[in-house]
Every structure is written in C-alpha cells, then in structure tokens.
C-alpha cells in the first residue's frame, strides 16, 4: 500500500484497509519508539512543525517521532514571533514552510486549516488538530491503543463519555470505531451530547449507538471507557459545572462493577475527570495511549515520505 505524498487531514480520507495498514506499521515501530532499536530511516529529512495553538503532547510527540527516525525538526510554535502577527495568510506561510521542509505538521485554531494547507502545499501535510475540527492522528493512536490492549476493535463495547458536543476527538473516534465494527454508547449530560450530524453519520456507517446520560448502568458491559474532558468554560454557571463534572468523575468505586479487561482511555490532559487512584489500577491505559502517539506518528511520517524501515 502506497501512502507517499498523501495528506493526513481527516480520518475520513482513509479506508478501513488503509487504517489497518497504518496500525500494522505502527506496531512495527514499537521497538524504535521505545528506544530498544535505533533507526536513521528519515536522515536528511526535515519536518516543519507548525503549532499556531498551544499543545504539549501532540507537538512533543511529533518531535520525538521525527527524532527517533533521524529527521530534523524546524518549528514555529508562537505566532507572536512570526509574520502571522503582521497579517500573513496561512496560505503564504504554508508555501514558505513547504520550501524549507519535506513534511508539514499543522495545529491551527481554525477548522479547515489543514485542508487549506494541503491545497497549497505539494509536500505532505499532517493535521495535528484544526480548531474544533479533525485530529486524525489522535484517532489513529486511539484505535492503535484499543487494538494493542484488547487484540481487536470489532465487537468491542466502547463507552465514549464526557463532552461529546465540543470534544474534537470524540466525533472522529466515533466514526472510525463504527467503521471497525465496535458497539458504541455515548454518555453525556444532555447539553453536551454527541451532535446530531455525527450520530447520523455513525448510523449511515452502519452503527446503532446507544445514547444516555447515565454512566453507572453502562460500566459493567464495557470493554473500553473513553473519557473526554468536560470544559468549565462551556457552563455559564460554575455550580452547574461542578454538578456535572462530579457526576461523571471516574473513580475506583465506579469501576467496581467493570469487566476485568476494561481499559480506561483519555486523550489528556485530564483535569479531574479521572481520580488519581484509578492510575494504579490495571484498567488505566491513558499514559500508554499517550506513548502510542510516538509509534503511530512514526508510521505516518515514514509512510507519507515513502520511506521503508
């Protein structure tokens, strides 16, 4: 399968077979990602890391992935130090960075920015999050984590919990999991439930998601509990936020009824959605999930640059 020069803008650009191939290549990257083996497969290549919005995990993990492969990284992480502040368009910035690098990674506050970048750049563009839009590398590493931990995605009962309305990871994850044949349950307070057009898209893809505001009744049958952050700024009333956040806080007591194999995931950063006492249980996989960003991004970088390892 050839991914050379492919832009990674939305998970929808990938077929199931292509995703499976990327997950396979990610698995092959594991010994290089954790430092057991060394490779210089991307020596001489330059990654342009453009982060026009704050990010710790995604930026560092792309940088780490590139370093593990022997590539060099140039980056822009503060718009205040660039021409953007002088009013330069993103289109012009991209054409400039395209000339300086072999692959571009872009995080941007506006939805559709990555598609625009892909339109103007002949070099491959990888979307590292565009506003409330897509974050395909997060979805890929989420799928990779489920497959690695449970051996399969098909047939798994997955609860997606938290802010499903605004949480950018929840929408594309729901669609991708449906393509892979997982059974979905969306748990959120009514005001933060999954948007109608995502639910309809999941149904069009053959899914039949359960929609509820009650987490307690759902835990015992779940294989995956995927938690997203409920952001305080979504609530005009701080008391209302406290009430909702408290009701969905996952702790050891809540997991008492869970299957032994249940895995708990979270794209991080967490605030107080997961009690620290959960960290020490065998269910907690969110730090492993964060690590998985490295092999998955290594697989993507080598794939779009057409380099075998």
């Amino acid at each position: 399968m050839n991914f050379k020069d492919m832009d990674v803008v939305s998970i929808r650009d990938f077929s199931r077979a292509q995703i499976e191939e990327i997950l396979e290549r990610s698995r092959a990257m594991l010994p290089y990602a954790n430092g057991e083996k060394v490779t210089r497969a991307l020596e001489g290549k330059i990654l342009g890391n453009l982060f026009f919005e704050p990010s710790t995990r995604t930026r560092l993990s792309f940088e780490s992935a590139a370093n593990r492969l022997g590539a060099k990284v140039i980056d822009v992480s503060q718009t205040s130090t660039t021409s953007i502040i002088k009013g330069e368009t993103l289109a012009d910035t991209i054409r400039m960075v395209e000339a300086y690098s072999d692959v571009i990674v872009l995080r941007h506050p506006h939805e559709g920015a990555a598609r625009l970048a892909a339109h103007f750049s002949r070099k491959p563009v990888i979307n590292a999050g565009d506003g409330a839009g897509s974050h395909p590398t997060q979805t890929l590493l989420d799928l990779f984590t489920i497959q690695e931990e449970l051996g399969a995605i098909e047939g798994m009962n997955v609860i997606i919990l938290g802010d499903l309305k605004y949480g950018r990871t929840a929408h594309s994850l729901a669609e991708a999991l449906t393509v892979f044949g997982a059974e979905l349950t969306f748990v959120a307070p009514e005001t933060l439930q999954m948007p109608k057009d995502t639910v309809e898209q999941v149904r069009r893809l053959g899914g039949n998601p359960r929609i509820t505001d009650d987490i307690e009744g759902e835990i015992s049958s779940a294989d995956v509990l995927y938690i997203t952050r409920i952001q305080q700024e979504r609530f005009p009333d701080p008391a209302e936020y406290q009430k909702v956040a408290g009701a969905y806080r996952v702790d050891k007591a809540m997991l008492r009824e869970a299957k032994k194999e249940l895995i708990v995931m979270h794209p991080l950063p967490r605030i107080d959605e997961i009690s620290p006492e959960v960290d020490e249980t065998h269910h907690a996989k969110y730090f492993k999930q964060a690590f998985n960003g490295i092999p998955v991004r290594m697989a993507l970088l080598t794939s779009v640059l057409g380099v075998d390892i």
């Binding site: 939305s10 929808r12 368009t89 993103l90 289109a91 941007h108 506050p109 506006h110 939805e111 559709g112 920015a113 598609r115 625009l116 339109h119 565009d130 506003g131 409330a132 839009g133 897509s134 057009d197």
Partner: protein
C-alpha cells in the same frame, strides 16, 4: 371584482415549482430589487400545485439565467423548473440540478472555518444530498445548516 391576472411574458424566464416560501430568496438570488429592473417581474406565492401541494412562481421578463444563478436556485429550491420563453413560446425547459460540488455559491456557516478568515480560497462544498440539499464544507467538514442565509 376585477380579477388580476399574471399575463404571459414575451421573452424571459419562468421559474416554476419553487418551494413554498422561497420566492423572495429567489429574487435575492436574481439580484432583483425595485431600482435595478426595467421589465416586469411577477412573483406568485402560495399557488396550488398538483405535484407538491403549494408552490411559488417567479417570472422575469427580458432575462435569461446563467448557470451560476440556476445552481443557486437549486440550493434553495431543488424541485424548481426553468422555462425560457422566447416570443411567447417555451424555447427551453429544464429542472434545476446541483452538481456534485458547489463552488463559490454559498459561504460556510461556521464562523471559525478557514474559508471565512481572509485566506485566498473559494468556499467549496460536497453535495451529499440534493433534495433537501445537504452540503458539507470541503474545508471544515461541517454540514451547512442555513443555505439561504449564506448565499453569496
């Protein structure tokens, strides 16, 4: 009481089977206002229709429509038909039909979409359904909710 009739037009266009309530939006698409036409424009609203129950009709004298205008009408009224009248005869008759991609006819309704941020790109949408039209922004991936409010 004297009956008021809309008389046949010699030359021009009849836009028929407009979705009920959309006639004024069609006028907006045609760019017609009280200052910029010299010929008769007839607007019929809430007219009985065998096919759809009720419909609107717009007749514009001395004007034929370009493709871009017809495509915009298809966005707000997918069942509309266009009759081109020459010398009192129907010279051409066709249904409006959206192509698979809509370019530069509507702007994205998402204020945070990159196409609304002074970048050198034209708004583009994939047409996922025609009746009612379902447009998905090629850039931000959102479905456009209010088409008539976002016509360019």
């Amino acid at each position: 009481m004297k009956e008021f009739k809309v008389t046949p037009i010699r030359n021009g266009t009849v836009i028929d089977h407009i979705d009920c309530g959309q006639a004024l939006n069609v006028l907006r698409v045609l760019g017609i206002n009280e200052h910029n036409v010299d010929s008769t424009v007839s607007v019929l609203m809430h007219v009985a229709s065998k096919k759809t129950g009720w419909k609107d009709v717009v007749k514009v004298e001395d004007r034929e429509l370009d493709k871009q205008t017809v495509d915009k009408i298809a966005l707000i009224s997918p069942k509309a038909t266009i009759d081109i009248i020459r010398d009192f005869n129907v010279a051409e008759k066709y249904k409006v039909m959206l192509s698979e991609r809509v370019v530069e006819l509507v702007r994205c309704g998402n204020p945070n979409c990159i196409t609304n941020k002074s970048e050198p790109v034209r708004p583009e949408f994939d047409v996922e359904a025609r009746d009612p039209p379902l447009l998905r922004c090629v850039y931000c991936d959102r479905v456009l909710d209010e088409i008539s409010e976002n016509l360019i």
